[in-house]
Symmetry: C2
Subunit: 155 residues, 2 copies
């Protein structure tokens, strides 16, 4: 057994050295995602939408009548994971699945009237969120640059 008192400094709990960790893209992206989720859910608490649900509503509004798998693929969500998401939206009467002529396998997706109403509220929430991002980034050029760098990294 080593003696612990040689290594543990009980009298001066100074700040931890974290330079190696904090300079890694890995660590910064992990922390950023956590804070992103936290802030998003705060802004969207009134409309009760998750990030993926909001994107789905917005995309269906832009492309009514498209197949479930087309919407999922454009969002970058696996078909399998998109099912429960759509079940949730449909259970809240925000979207509906209609049958497609000549292909009884597919479902065409539409927003309901209340889905369009909620999307209006959600767009205001997103505008608030985007405005906060814009302010933190320090202006439109910085925002465009951030999105461009993000696209280079993960586009």
């Amino acid at each position: 057994m080593e003696k612990i008192s040689e290594t543990y400094n009980a009298t001066s709990p100074e700040a931890l050295a974290a330079s190696t960790v904090s300079q890694s893209v890995v660590h910064q992206l992990r922390r950023a995602h956590g804070r992103f989720m936290h802030r998003f859910l705060h802004h969207f608490s009134a409309v009760n939408l998750r990030p993926a649900e909001y994107s789905a509503l917005a995309l269906i509004a832009e492309n009514p009548g498209r197949k479930q798998s087309e919407i999922a693929a454009t969002l970058g969500i696996q078909r399998a994971n998109f099912v429960s998401l759509m079940n949730d939206l449909e259970g809240r009467c925000l979207t509906e699945r209609r049958s497609v002529p000549n292909d009884r396998r597919s479902h065409a997706l539409y927003l309901t009237a209340s889905g369009q109403n909620l999307l209006s509220d959600a767009r205001r929430a997103e505008a608030d969120f985007e405005a906060e991002c814009l302010e933190r980034l320090g202006g439109t050029p910085a925002r465009e640059q951030f999105l461009a760098l993000l696209a280079r990294l993960f586009g």
Copy 2:
């Protein structure tokens, strides 16, 4: 009931309009995180470490003997969630919890010899990952700018 054939175009499945969705920071960050996790786990598959575990090992190596709650706070991980993470690392004999003199509540964290060995391999994996990021971003200035913008947004 509306007629579906008026809205569903079965003959020309052109690409979906996604400008509204794709221009939002929300959507881009959601997609980026998914790809980040996928790439990270690919690079770290040999050492079998998750992002949070790698950061924990690196931080403990820089600050041996610190309390569990200090390491967790510096990493931005809740105490409660850090327990199972440390249980996992300790179960693999990569870290150990030692008792602290004058405070029987606390655990001081240390890397074991095999923990230090694995961290060496993990640092090589991270160097590969960071090099890939650097190449995608297009150079050190772009990398620094990306980290700076990320810190403005979520720091």
